[in-house]
């Protein structure tokens, strides 16, 4: 005879674990912290080596020089470079991060840019490694990296910011996690180099971001006027109906970055 078993929702006594509520509380913590941030901008490219971090850092500094409150979240957890690009050690980035009851202080970079990065937290030269079983770590590592991203959003004392730039690693997975964690999908700033190979990779990443609700601010073409030939920025702009925000030469000047910052409003 079949047992008469009720459904999950039929059992209404208090659930002490309240796992769904715990996840909800994590999301509220992110939303509460981001409530003081006017614009979250994901700097993305499907391609590695196009200069996302370089563009992110210099754009952040230009925004800072123009009087905006700016933070940079280094979401490249396995290859973090933002503190060095922001000259954060000179601003206290190398020392321990002061931790308060509800948040950790961001490091201070050049031109008043705040930042958080695994580079500030890991031992020199060491990779990001997690405690856990050695076998089949691919099963849980992604969840842990998403948790680190969540804590970088929610547990850093960002304060009131005009822009929080999120420097993403190559690929689209980290963008998907970011869009999932934020109350609303972030805007996307696309970085490419002129080559058709870069355009191919960026196209896929941009499409994935748009499918997750991102608003594309436009394309930044980096390393223009050097050995890389092509029209990736123009091609992508035409295909997606978005502007080319800047063409960054091999030797950009502060005016180059100021121009890009001005296009962001």
């Amino acid at each position: 005879m079949a047992l008469n078993i009720r459904t999950y929702r039929d059992l209404t006594e208090p659930d002490r674990s309240a796992l769904v509520e715990q996840i909800g509380a994590q999301r509220r913590r992110v939303a509460d912290r981001m409530a003081a941030v006017r614009h979250v901008v994901a700097v993305l490219s499907g391609k590695g080596g196009v200069g996302k971090s370089y563009v992110t850092a210099h754009l952040a500094r230009a925004l800072g020089r123009s009087g905006r409150g700016v933070g940079v979240l280094d979401a490249d957890l396995n290859g973090p470079t933002i503190p060095r690009l922001l000259d954060a050690p000179a601003g206290g980035g190398e020392g321990p991060r002061p931790a308060h009851a509800d948040a950790v202080e961001a490091a201070a970079g050049a031109d008043g840019v705040k930042c958080i990065s695994m580079a500030l937290l890991l031992r020199d030269g060491m990779p990001l490694a997690f405690r856990g079983p050695d076998s089949e770590s691919f099963v849980w590592r992604g969840a842990l990296e998403a948790a680190v991203l969540r804590e970088f959003l929610a547990d850093v004392a960002w304060g009131a910011l005009d822009f929080l730039l999120v420097d993403l690693p190559p690929g689209v997975q980290r963008f998907a996690e970011l869009a999932e964690l934020l109350p609303a999908p972030p805007a996307a700033l696309i970085v490419t180099i002129p080559t058709p190979e870069s355009a191919d990779a960026v196209r896929r990443a941009l499409r994935a971001a748009l499918e997750r609700g991102a608003t594309a601010l436009g394309v930044v073409e980096n390393m223009v006027g050097g050995p890389f030939a092509g029209s990736a920025a123009d091609d992508l702009a035409a295909e997606f109906g978005i502007p080319v925000l800047a063409r960054i030469p091999w030797h950009p000047t502060p005016d180059t970055w100021a121009g890009l910052a001005g296009r962001l409003g």
Binding site: Q22, V104, L122, L128, F130, A147, E151
Partner: protein, 148 residues
């Protein structure tokens, strides 16, 4: 995840959580009607997945600490990556016995400050003036600090 005592048709209630070793997470549930107790045992992979989500089986007993996952799960972090807010360590805070301090010193530096603060808050909340290894054991069990 809920457990139903089929004989009594009653929802079982969470009893306690343990980490008995080998990466196993044990969560025990008891039927409020007949008292029957069952435990679910997760394998190391399942335990790791739960930890990766930053949730606590049996519920949270202390508020979420900033960078809890970073501090609790990263094994390649700097010992001096964080310095805790000193304000909460002053005043009429609990004393630490030498044995308790020795045990605290064995906690990795990356997470030590946060763990010390949690033990201190636990002692204050329970009116405990002196933190001993026994108090630390009680806090670990009660607060779900097995992984720290």
């Amino acid at each position: 995840m809920k457990f139903l005592c089929i004989n009594c048709d009653r929802q079982m209630v969470f009893e306690e959580r343990q980490l008995p070793g080998d990466g196993t997470l044990a969560a025990a549930f008891r039927c409020p009607e007949c008292g029957r107790c069952v435990a679910i045992l997760t394998n190391p992979m399942e335990t790791q997945l739960v930890a990766s989500l930053g949730v606590k089986i049996g519920g949270r007993t202390v508020p979420a600490q900033p960078m809890e996952t970073v501090r609790g799960m990263v094994v390649t972090g700097k010992d001096n990556a964080f310095v805790e807010d000193g304000k909460r360590e002053t005043g009429n805070g609990p004393m630490w016995t030498a044995e308790a301090q020795e045990r605290l010193a064995r906690v990795p530096g990356f997470v030590r400050g946060m763990v010390k603060r949690i033990y201190g808050d636990y002692a204050r909340d329970h009116g405990i003036a002196e933190i001993t290894p026994t108090v630390m054991d009680a806090a670990r069990s009660e607060l779900g600090l097995e992984g720290m």
